[in-house]
């Protein structure tokens, strides 16, 4: 969760607060998690990611993040070379259209409307490509034993 929030927010303090807000929210509401949904880990990472994106899009952190990117810290966000290679290969297997949408919507955190404007395609096409890309990435990245559970 921390790594997910940190990758998006690029600010250790903002990432820590984001994760804390997620847990506080789940604590207050009881949380919509159920074992039927799948792994708790995946659920929590998605919660952290959505919370971080909400912060980014609200623009609350943009200014502070720009000032703190180069600040030294006690911890570093590192890449796992094996996972990195797996993901690179999975991304390489996407169509160009899907890869463009994944890059902008998933990794840059742009809204669907922003992606549609950037690529000059209808928003429905963006939705379709992103959804199809995630399903294709699932086939590449998630072990077969996890499918269809």
């Amino acid at each position: 969760m921390q790594a997910t929030a940190l990758r998006l927010l690029r600010d250790p303090e903002a990432a820590r607060e984001c994760v804390q807000e997620v847990f506080e929210g789940l604590w207050r509401r009881g949380g919509p998690y159920s074992p039927v949904r799948g792994s708790l880990e995946a659920f929590l990472v998605t919660c952290a990611r959505n919370a971080a994106l909400s912060q980014l899009r609200a623009g609350r952190r943009r200014q502070e993040t720009a000032q703190k990117i180069e600040a030294p810290g006690e911890y570093t966000l590192d890449e796992d070379p094996i996972e990195r290679q797996r993901v690179a290969r999975a991304l390489a297997a996407l169509t160009e259209g899907q890869a463009d949408v994944v890059r902008l919507a998933y990794y840059k955190g742009m809204t669907l409307a922003e992606v549609a404007a950037e690529l000059a395609i209808p928003i429905g096409t963006v939705k379709g490509r992103l959804s199809a890309a995630l399903r294709a990435l699932r086939r590449s990245l998630v072990p077969e034993t996890s499918h269809g559970i």
Partner: protein
């Protein structure tokens, strides 16, 4: 009467963080009473988890990963989240710092790129390249090592040798040079060629 609405593609869009808060709330409300959609959403979340596993958190100056307890595989009890929340509130989880490295994944995420298929007598292979030609990424089926050359106007540039993994072999070559084609060579002999447009 129960709505016939199901989340459909919104499951992946939710997991990717592409829905508005209102749309997320609608999905949350639906999956609370529809196990089929809840399972689809969970599958999409597993994909996001796989993508996010690229990033690990490490103490600066250490090669030992510092992984939060709930990030470990096999931990699936709700009480762990509660314990983690308590740890967060008590400040046991320390701030972290971001960094980037020049890797195929990062390169692909930050630039427009195109694909070209290799043709020839060799294995299935593909080259991805930045549209500004800042880098080339070659991926070949099988674990054999191939030499990779960029060619322009009859001039060859040695881009390196593919590095084998379990099922494929690949090479990421950062270069600002423009090529007409990229060649895969085996012991100096051209086995496949991809046209760069």
């Amino acid at each position: 009467m129960e709505s016939e609405f199901h989340v459909g593609d919104d499951a992946e869009l939710y997991a990717a963080g592409a829905l508005t808060e209102e749309e997320q709330a609608a999905v949350d409300a639906h999956v609370a009473r529809c196990d089929a959609c809840l399972r689809r959403l969970g599958e999409a979340e597993e994909t996001v988890l796989a993508l996010e596993r690229v990033n690990a958190v490490r103490p600066a100056g250490s090669r030992e990963a510092k992984v939060l307890p709930f990030q470990r595989r096999g931990v699936s009890s709700w009480w762990v989240a509660v314990a983690a929340a308590a740890a967060l509130i008590l400040g046991f989880i320390l701030p972290h710092r971001g960094s980037q490295s020049d890797t195929p994944t990062i390169a692909m995420l930050h630039s427009h790129f195109a694909h070209a298929q290799f043709t020839g007598a060799g294995p299935v292979a593909k080259v991805l390249y930045a549209r500004d030609r800042a880098w080339y990424y070659v991926i070949v089926a099988g674990a054999h090592r191939y030499e990779v050359y960029g060619v322009r106007d009859g001039q060859n540039a040695d881009l390196g040798t593919t590095q084998p993994g379990a099922q494929t072999s690949d090479l990421f070559a950062p270069t600002a040079r423009r090529f007409d084609r990229v060649e895969l060579r085996d012991a100096g002999k051209i086995v496949e060629t991809a046209a760069i447009r």
